[in-house]
Amino acid sequence: MSGVTENLKSSQEPNKERQDPDSSDTPDEEKKDDRIFECNICLDTAKDAVVSMCGHLFCWPCLHQWLETRPNRQVCPVCKASISKEKVVPLYGRGSSKQEDPREKVPPRPAGQRTEPEPGSAFSGFGFADNGFHMSFGIGAFPFGFFTSTFNFGDARPTAAARGTQQHMEEQFLSKIFLWMAILFVAWLLLA
C-alpha cells in the first residue's frame, strides 16, 4: 500500500515542479488558473482546503493559526466578515486529498456536515433492531440481555461483515469488551 503511494508521489514530482510558480519558465496563463485555488494566507495552493461562509479559500492549518493569533477578533483574513471554526466548510476535491485522514493531523480540520436522506420504509426494520440493541442495556438481567441482543443484532444484519475485514475485527473486539464487562459485572454482583 505504501509502495503504491510512494510510486504515485514520485511520478507526480516532476509535474509539481513544473507548476511551481517559482520556476520562471511557467507560462503566465497557467499560473492564473492555479491562483484561484491558492490559499489567501500562504498564497500557495490550498492544502486541506476549507472555505469560509463568505466564500474565501484557505489551508486549514493557515486559517487555524490566524484564528489562534486573534482569539477575540475572529474575522475573515480577506473580507473581515466574522467567521468561526465551526462554520468553515472543508473542500474535498478529487485527487487533491492524500490517503491520510486530515483529521489525524494537528490541528484537526472540521468535518463536512451532511444530512442523511430520509430512510425509506424498507430500512425501518433495521432501525428498530438497532434501537432494541441499545435498549437492552437498561434491563436488569444485563448479561443475558446483552447476549441475546448481540445475537439478534447479528441476525438482523442484512449482510454480516465478512471475516477478516476491518468491520469484522471491530465487531469481534467490541463483543470481547462487552463479554469482559459482563463477567466483571457478575463477579461484582457475587462479591457484593
Binding site: 517559482d22 489567501n40 494566507i41 498564497l43 493557515c62 490566524w66 477578533r73 474575522v75 483574513p77
Partner: protein
C-alpha cells in the same frame, strides 16, 4: 512554520514587481537581505495633495509570525502628516495594528499608506503638533507639508518664504532641520520659533 513568512514575502515581492502600480511608478519594493525579513518600500506622493511629486521611502520589517501579524513599517523620508511622526516616522494606521488581516500583502499595505497621504485622520493622530495645525490652520499645514515634500522627498514646489526663514535661523547658528521643525510647529512665525529655540 516560520518558513511561511519568507515564502510569502517571496511571492508578494514578485506580485508587487509585476503590479500595474509599479508600472505607473506609484509603488516600489526592494529587498535588503536574502532572508526576506527587511525590505525597503517606496510610494509616490498622491496627486492633488501636498505630497505630490515626492517619493517617500519606507522601512519594512517582516516579523517571523508574518502574515499572521502585520509588517513593521515606518517612514524613512521625513514627512509632515498628522498620522506620521515628524520625528521618528512612526505610522498610526489601523491595518498596521489591530485591523491587520492575514490576506493583506506588501502591495495592499503600500497602497493603504498612499491612501493615508491622500486622506489624513487628524482625530487619530500620531503627531499631535501636526494634527493640531491640520485642524486649526489647514492652509499653513498645506504649506508646511508641501515644503517638507520639496526638501526631503524631492517634491517640485520650492517655497521661497520658508527657505528664507530657515536661512535666517541657520545664520543664528541653528541646525537646518531643527530650524525647520521649530518654524513648522509655530506656523512659520519667526519670532515664536526663535523664542522656542533659544529658551
Amino acid at each position: 512554520m516560520a518558513n511561511i513568512a519568507a515564502q510569502r514575502i517571496k511571492r508578494e515581492f514578485k506580485e508587487v514587481i509585476k503590479s500595474e502600480e509599479v508600472a505607473k511608478c506609484a509603488i516600489r519594493v526592494e529587498l535588503l537581505n536574502d532572508c526576506y525579513t527587511e525590505l525597503r518600500g517606496e510610494i509616490a506622493g498622491p496627486p492633488d495633495t501636498p505630497y505630490e511629486g515626492g517619493t517617500f521611502v519606507l522601512d519594512i520589517k517582516v516579523p517571523e509570525t508574518y502574515p499572521f501579524n502585520p509588517p513593521k513599517v515606518k517612514f524613512l523620508t521625513k514627512i509632515w502628516h498628522p498620522n506620521i511622526s515628524s520625528v521618528t516616522g512612526a505610522i498610526c494606521l489601523d491595518i498596521l495594528k489591530d485591523q491587520w488581516a492575514a490576506a493583506m500583502t506588501l502591495r495592499t499595505v503600500l497602497l493603504s499608506l498612499q491612501a493615508l497621504l491622500s486622506a489624513a485622520e487628524p482625530d487619530d493622530p500620531q503627531d499631535a503638533v501636526v494634527a493640531k495645525q491640520y485642524k486649526e490652520n489647514n492652509e499653513m499645514f498645506q504649506i508646511t507639508a508641501r515644503h517638507w515634500t520639496n526638501v526631503y522627498a524631492g517634491g517640485p514646489n520650492v517655497n521661497k518664504d520658508c527657505d528664507d526663514k530657515i536661512k535666517t535661523l541657520a545664520d543664528m547658528g541653528v541646525e537646518e532641520h531643527q530650524a525647520r521643525v521649530a518654524l513648522s510647529s509655530y506656523d512659520w512665525e519667526l519670532q515664536r520659533a526663535t523664542e522656542q529655540l533659544f529658551s
